[in-house]
């Protein structure tokens, strides 16, 4: 069920981000305007404009590095003021930035939604975006407006129009049922996409969130399967009955890295996402796994215990020039390259258990972000500012948490049951 969003204004010429300074930028989010209050299949445009405004503010309030003023219905402005705001009015409220916009009913029953972001200190526009969407899909247009505001203020892509996949777990021990669940980045549209009759692990979304690679025990052995989320059709990634696991899409979604075990030795392979013959990338004795592409697809981070213990390595996309990058105390596992290319998230395995951390791709500037002792499976937000990870809570139970990479305490992500193996997609098309 791919959403069809027609870009009205592809524009978005981003000026330098407002938050080069270290203070958190404040943005005013007054109610979106509507040129004429008309009924649609999803409600009146006036009501939708107010709901969209609240969603945008709520999105921005969930981010640690911007501050959104709570919307107030008294702060309405006229439709012409959408593109010609009175900057001093918002400066007086303490805002550095302003988001305006409109919701308009079209004769064909669809909605036109437009958003504009302004620097009210300098009195200039920072960006604009707009869409024509079916009335029932106004939420995605609002999330795109949130993303525009976030990117205008921070320079990083917004995380609001994304999807999250994870393993939903009910029951304990041998009675535990594990299903792959998928939801929007804000927790809505939660759906189970596998039936729970076989154990499943490590769902990984394609960058646009439309497809899924995951490990299933279908047939009795762990093996990678791929699924189209619109149709729920699934198939094995590669033929044969070898043990395979640890899938991850390339940033353009065209290829999938995975690990396969033959004669007890685990190596990294890459295969076209549509199928075909896999290419082997590593051959060292030992376990090579958890491979992750650089954002430009030219290099791969992975873990290997070829030195005796798990450490992180880097190689070219064709498997050449394999070099170790971690040398500190402890063992390092499960690397994921950040979407901005700057950092790697990892799990450190040591006497204090499993903890999630980040470092630069050359191994420098290492920071441990979580307290453990059972934190693993980090997955980057498309903003490269936050991670999702799994926290084991003992007795076989676990939850997923969200943590900022620039400090702050992890926050639990609310889902209907126990959860593990989170994965966060890129921005949807």
């Amino acid at each position: 069920m791919k959403l069809r969003m027609t870009a009205l204004i592809v524009a978005a010429m981003f000026a330098a981000p407002l938050a080069a300074q270290h203070t958190v930028p404040v943005i005013a989010v007054p109610p979106l305007a509507t040129p004429e209050d008309k009924e649609t299949s999803a409600g009146s445009t006036l009501s939708l404009a107010w709901q969209a405004t609240q969603l945008i503010a709520s999105d921005l309030q969930s981010a640690a590095d911007v501050m959104a003023l709570s919307p107030d219905q008294k702060d309405f402005y006229s439709y012409p003021e959408v593109t010609a705001p009175t900057h001093s009015r918002w400066r007086a409220k303490g805002a550095k930035a302003l988001l305006t916009g409109f919701v308009q009913a079209r004769p064909d029953g669809r909605l036109a939604v437009g958003c504009y972001v302004y620097d009210v200190e300098k009195g200039r526009e920072l960006g604009r975006t707009g869409f024509v969407v079916p009335a029932g899909e106004w939420r995605r247009a609002a999330h795109k407006c949130s993303g525009l505001a976030y990117q205008s203020l921070t320079g990083a892509p917004g995380i609001f129009d994304t999807r999250i996949a994870y393993v939903a777990k009910t029951g304990l021990g041998t009675a535990q049922v594990a299903r792959v669940a998928v939801m929007d980045g804000d927790g809505l549209n939660h759906d189970y996409v596998t039936t729970g009759d076989t154990l499943v692990l490590t769902p990984r979304l394609s960058p646009n969130g439309e497809r899924l690679a995951f490990v299933s025990f279908t047939g009795g052995k762990p093996n990678v399967r791929v699924m189209d989320l619109a149709s729920n059709d699934q198939r094995p990634l590669v033929p044969g009955d070898a043990i395979s696991f640890s899938p991850r899409y390339s940033p353009d979604g065209s290829r999938i890295l995975f690990s396969m075990t033959q004669a007890g030795n685990t190596d990294i392979y890459v295969v076209n996402a549509t199928g075909g013959f896999p290419q082997r990338l590593t051959s060292a004795p030992g376990i090579d796994t958890s491979a992750s592409f650089s954002p430009d697809g030219s290099r791969i981070l992975f873990e290997s215990d070829r030195s005796g213990f798990q450490q992180l390595y880097i190689m070219n996309a064709n498997g050449s020039d394999q070099r170790r990058i971690t040398f500190g105390g402890g063992w390092y596992a499960a690397p994921e390259w950040s979407p901005d290319g700057e950092r790697v998230a990892f799990v450190r395995r040591g006497s204090d258990g499993l903890r999630v951390g980040v470092m630069k791709v050359d191994g420098s500037d290492l920071q441990i972000l979580t307290s453990g002792p059972r934190d693993e499976g980090p997955s980057w937000a498309v903003s490269s500012r936050e991670l999702l990870f799994q926290r084991g809570e003992g007795f076989g139970r676990s939850s997923i948490y969200r943590v900022g990479v620039n400090g702050g305490q992890p926050r639990k992500v609310t889902v209907p049951q126990d959860a593990g193996d989170p994965d966060w997609s890129g921005a949807r098309d």
Partner: protein
């Protein structure tokens, strides 16, 4: 002391083909169709559960343990596997699945690979002792079927 040494020599001489001496040579278990009336004949071993119980009894254990993340077979592990091999060679109709498991403190992907490494080490050793490869299949459960802290193990499970 001298008597013990002689005993060991005798036992080693009795089983020259096996690398590891066993103190009890398992007897062949007959598979007997159960009588519908009267007292059952002895020994009665029927059904997969009874065969599994017999396997565990004769081999000492269906489970062997490992250290660290390794697939290295310790001396006690080799002795248990030698007894498993004896049983499997006497039950050439049986197929087993060797389940490899890893430490719950391992990370998820690596644990799957460690379980596979262990299952394969057990499989190779059983083949070395003479068990036909066609009787042996392997799987890894990584750390997904944790049985307490001592989860670094491989379990030989009779499947049919």
């Amino acid at each position: 002391m001298r008597r013990l040494m002689i005993m060991v020599a005798v036992i080693a001489g009795m089983a020259p083909s096996a690398s590891f001496a066993q103190l009890r040579v398992p007897t062949i278990v007959q598979r007997v169709i159960p009588a519908t009336r009267g007292r059952p004949q002895q020994p009665v071993v029927v059904g997969i559960d009874a065969l599994r119980a017999d396997f565990r009894l004769r081999a000492g254990s269906d489970t062997v343990y490992f250290g660290g993340d390794s697939g290295l077979l310790s001396a006690p592990t080799r002795a248990t596997l030698a007894a498993q091999a004896q049983w499997l060679m006497r039950h050439s109709e049986m197929v087993v699945q060797i389940e490899g498991h890893a430490d719950p403190a391992d990370t998820r992907d690596h644990a799957l690979a460690v379980g596979a490494r262990r299952a394969e080490a057990v499989r190779q050793f059983l083949i070395l002792l003479g068990v036909p490869a066609g009787q042996l299949t392997t799987v890894s459960y990584g750390k997904e079927r944790a049985a307490g802290a001592a989860n670094s193990r491989a379990v030989t499970v009779l499947v049919r």
